[in-house]
Symmetry: C2
Subunit: 683 residues, 2 copies
């Protein structure tokens, strides 16, 4: 797939070489014809089209740099993908629901319909992604943030991967609330892949761009993913920043927000045009006036709720880490997941579907609702207990009835939902399909808040603590709890903002922020890893902030202690024999050159490609030449000392986007630090 990606760039280079003979329009300073090759037919029309395209490029280029169109295109494409996915998933979910309701009366057929539909989807998603692109399973966030830290993983950004993940994710989401998985994580990964593709297109149009343009585009793309998922530009970008990077360069701030705003706007416009929303409104509508007050004492309640959310999140994360460990060590499962991913996915999905079957335990946990219905019903304004009396007069089926009916009273349903979904979600996280884990956690948090809120309203209904009624208080508790719980699981603060942005109510920013801070304080204590950290550690990716959770002493370890065996080095006056030995015994692209093997004073490095050229030349012509007479010795930009900590080495590797750093002591070469070195030091 890498070849396909590289294709356009190489094509552009060929074009550049052909360019000399053609007539150049004076308006463009730099140009690479979009199509040439004189042997192709229709030379004249092609020339006209090319001319027009060039003029168009000049016009566009006069307004702003080509990368800005790239950012806009990235936002729009991602939002389009997001809309397309929502649309397909909605159709598939509706089909399932229609079939299930048609079979009303025949419980056995209903059971098969209820279980086999998600099982088929999960098996297809798992087998398809396993066969086309085996890396496509899971959330993708751990890999993306490793890429953003500077580590090169080209297979993770290919177009094949994009389509695999897209289709696989549709299958997962269409399996509905049975498997209870979301779309945020894979969408960040999808938008990163779109970003890599758009960046290649930009290179084709404007070859002489900056070196780090691709990396900047990837950072922006990671920010756009969440924004397009929810149509929430501000919190989307902040969430990405928090999850993705340990350092955020401010020059990427404006492109990120620009692209995210384009994405969010496109997402809402599509919803508007498709007739889903009459106007561009907040995604999860709430029917509350905005400037409602809260009282100082309630802050304490929010802080307590935050602590509760933090404690529950610790429990969830502990279970998640344990099951990851179990799956990676149990020999049966390891063998099964290596060869028969489909079988495992089918088995787990069937089990989950059996549990959620509405005529079985499902009726006590509102399993008929889709993820979106669950969230909107939980975040619905008002107190449920008071609403339940007149709920039966409504004509259309109300999700509230699922929660609070005569056979399943409210408190029982909520408690049962929370207890069951905890282990079901942990189990679902092991499914080898593309899936996101943020949305289920957010819904779980909202349910937790609803339980606490309704409980408090029920207990304190005699003494009035808020004259505005409990309705608002319960709603705020839901919102705050959803933010706090998802913030605690991911170790971020931006879910607070996300909850506010998605519901359009800014007055509750302070309580949500407070509760999220409290929940984070509990979840982060004692170096507990976040959800994504656990995945990173499990996958052994070279991401220092995650590895730090597993070995807290690591960042302050001196570099000198982790330098491996003595690395290959060449002396300035090396002959062909020494060079051949070095090339054969090392796989690095940069090989250090020292003054002499005695002094070991580092002069710089030579590129592997130049060494191969040198060997080729020396075989052909003059075998007596020395290294420094043929190859150019590049100066090292930054040198570390063995006393630097690994944290510092990691920062510099990330800052410069370099893959190798040289370590010297008193001018003498001591060793190299590379990304795998950083990773292996964590073992």
């Amino acid at each position: 797939m890498k070849n396909l990606d590289e294709g356009p760039e190489r094509g552009a280079d060929v074009e550049n070489n052909n360019q000399g003979g053609e007539n150049q329009s004076e308006t463009c300073h730099n140009r690479s014809p979009l199509l040439s090759d004189p042997w192709k037919p229709y030379e004249r029309p092609r020339a006209i089209v090319k001319d027009w395209l060039l003029k168009l490029r000049c016009c566009f280029g006069a307004v702003c740099g080509m990368e800005w169109y790239g950012y806009a295109a990235l936002g729009i494409l991602t939002a389009f993908l997001s809309f397309l996915m929502d649309f397909s998933v909605l159709k598939l979910l509706n089909a399932h629901q229609w079939l299930y309701e048609k079979l009303d009366g025949n419980r056995l057929l209903q059971f098969f319909c209820w279980t086999l539909y998600p099982v088929c989807l999960c098996v297809f998603g798992s087998v398809f992604s396993h066969n086309i692109c085996p890396f496509a399973t899971g959330s993708g966030i751990p890999e993306v943030r490793t890429i953003l830290a500077g580590f090169e993983m080209p297979h993770f950004l290919s177009v094949t991967h994009l389509f695999t993940k897209f289709l696989g994710l549709i299958c997962t989401l269409a399996a509905g609330s049975t498997v209870f998985l979301g779309k945020v994580g894979p969408f960040v990964h999808l938008s990163t892949m779109v970003g890599a593709y758009v960046s290649n297109l930009c290179t084709l149009i404007q070859p002489n761009k900056k070196d780090n343009a691709t990396r900047e585009m990837l950072v922006v793309a990671a920010g756009v993913g969440v924004a397009s998922c929810f149509g929430a530009p501000v919190s989307g970008v902040l969430f990405s920043v928090e999850v993705m990077s340990s350092h955020f360069a401010l020059r990427q701030y404006v492109p990120c927000f620009f692209s995210a705003a384009c994405g969010a706007l496109t997402f809402r416009l599509f919803s508007f045009w498709s007739g889903e929303g009459e106007t561009l409104q907040a995604l999860f509508k709430t029917n509350f006036p905005s400037s409602l007050p809260f009282y100082p004492l309630e802050i304490l309640l929010f802080a307590l709720l935050g602590l509760l959310c933090g404690a529950v999140s610790c429990c969830y994360l502990f279970c998640h880490r344990r099951i990851l460990q179990f799956i990676n060590t149990n020999s049966v499962l390891v063998k099964m997941l290596a060869t028969d991913k489909g079988l495992y996915a089918g088995a787990v999905a069937f089990f989950l579907a059996c549990v959620t079957f509405p005529h079985f335990a499902g009726r006590y946990m509102a399993s008929k609702c889709t993820m979106k219905q669950l969230l909107t019903s939980l975040l619905k304004g008002g107190q449920w207990i008071s609403q339940s009396h007149n709920a039966s007069v409504q004509l259309e089926p109300d999700p509230l009835l699922e929660w609070n009916s005569s056979e399943s009273p409210l408190f029982f349903t909520l408690t049962f939902f929370l207890l069951m979904k905890l282990w079901m979600l942990v189990l679902a996280c092991t499914l080898p399909v593309p899936a996101g884990y943020f949305m289920p956690v957010f819904v779980y948090g909202a349910a937790l808040g609803r339980l606490v809120g309704e409980g408090a309203a029920f207990l304190f209904s005699s003494t009035s603590i808020n004259p505005g009624g409990y309705a608002l208080a319960v709603w705020i508790l839901c919102l705050v709890s959803a933010a706090a719980y998802s913030g605690a699981v991911t170790h971020t603060l931006s879910p607070a903002l996300l909850a506010i942005e998605a519901t359009g109510q800014f007055s509750h920013a302070v309580p949500a922020l407070f509760a999220t801070l409290m929940a984070n304080a509990v979840a982060r204590s004692r170096h507990r890893p976040s959800f994504y950290d656990a995945l990173t550690i499990c996958k052994k990716l070279p991401h220092l902030p995650s590895l730090k959770k597993a070995c807290p002493w690591l960042p302050s370890t001196p570099v000198g202690q982790v330098l491996g065996v003595k690395s290959v080095r060449l002396q300035k006056a090396a002959g062909p024999a020494e060079v051949r030995h070095a090339v054969n015994s090392s796989t690095e692209t940069q090989i250090p050159v020292v003054d002499s093997h005695e002094s070991q004073v580092l002069l710089g490095f030579v590129l592997r490609s130049e060494l191969l050229m040198f060997l080729h030349d020396s075989e052909a012509e003059n075998p007596e030449k020395h290294l420094d007479e043929v190859c150019s010795i590049h100066p090292n930009l930054v040198l570390l000392s063995p006393h630097n900590t690994i944290q510092e080495a990691y920062s510099i590797l990330s800052l410069f986007g370099a893959q190798t750093l040289f370590v010297t002591d008193e001018g003498r070469l001591v060793g190299l630090i590379t990304w795998p070195e950083v990773r292996s030091s964590g073992k």
Copy 2:
């Protein structure tokens, strides 16, 4: 002042030395007695108090690290200062208004009251701050961001400076809308000073803390400043991040938001307790339902408004740069500002007060309103034209009457306000008093939006583009324009969020963000410096992102080109004579040591203090010793090559918080890069 700051630390060291003989409680791992000294009276009670304090510290320390209490204290202190300032300013403004209204009927006395009150305040503020702490004038943001980038400026964080700036700022704000200046910038500076003080306190309580704790506290403090000003935690932190830093480390994210949330909560609680607001509401109350729609086509209108704001901001920034240049070059003004700041401040304030006198031009520019009244009236919901008919029946004086009365029609007032305030604000920015420049710009933007909105509503009143009526459209245009204009002047995006957070309406995030992006695109084009960049360049502070605006080639210049004269270096075997020469001819704290003067291979550096000790020893006892036998040679952590760019050197200096970097080529020392080097390269 530095001595006063250093006092507690030195005290703590002394305590540590005394500690050995005392009985240590086993519960505490590390302790520094809060009070000791055996010669003081009441030994027994003091011992009991000390014991209790130590136990208390252990209890607190068991919950979380001492720095978190510091962050909370920082937020609460800053919010308290903010509230105290608002309270004093309100009293002073009310006194002025009361006096002015008592003198009704006598125009001459009214004129003197109107002009002399702000003149006295400005002269006092200017003379006071000039005499106590000459750096206290201006906004302080350029200095704070230079400090945060790593440059040491201890005088800017002293407690004297804090009080000077606090008092001076009260004077400036109490001068009211006559001088039309705000409090955001100085407040960021104030909170940084509070942060430095709290950090010293934390050092006293917990001496064995991390090296960079002070710097982290300063970053957090900068974030808290804006949050406490508006009671808006999210956008406050983001604004600080955007203005202050070029890189933002994510580990400061949580402390920043924690402190800002504490600050915002305290600020609102104080407002609540003082009876200003009945409950904790958004700062500038708006009476609109939240989930009001906007139509896709309106996005275009917002984009156009953003472009207009960008263009006006360019004009304003151009005038501002010109007047800064004029003031720095005109010999009369330079002399006057060096010696008679009070005279200049008085003259400018008198001139501005004359222009805004309500019986003169002031009646056409709503000069009777305070800054807050101006903003709330501009951001008031509804269309003014339609409201003006029944405005006269209200009992209390309505700021709207100031804008739209029979003798000054709406459009004339708004246009006159915009034209006059443009140059008046530029003039006011030259006042040598502590003052902020964000709020006036925000108000100006709101007025611009109001003019455009009312104009559009007037023109299109026949064809309905929004069935919801123009009232909302006009209000959104105001909000969006305020955000876009202030964003363009400061080159930031967070005013969009600030406008939304302060009014509590999140539904309009996307239009505000879009308009701000457009305005930024115009304002940032052609390397135009922002408001703060212009100040930084004018004050010649070593802040690379600002200097880049003045010389765009600078960041990509190789370090080798700006290395100055050959720096002082010592050889390993240097004797007392050579060391004495080096100490006398250099002022650096780190002096590089090379292998020998022939090879020039860098071994490390010695500290100046150790060299002085070496000289002292050699004079006293054995004059034949060599440098490496007495002093320890510290290894250099990071070495640069002459091929590194200045941008890279700046990043590494900021990342490591270092003051000096050594540059080597093939192991040989070439020179040093220090902060002043980075600054001087921009000349």
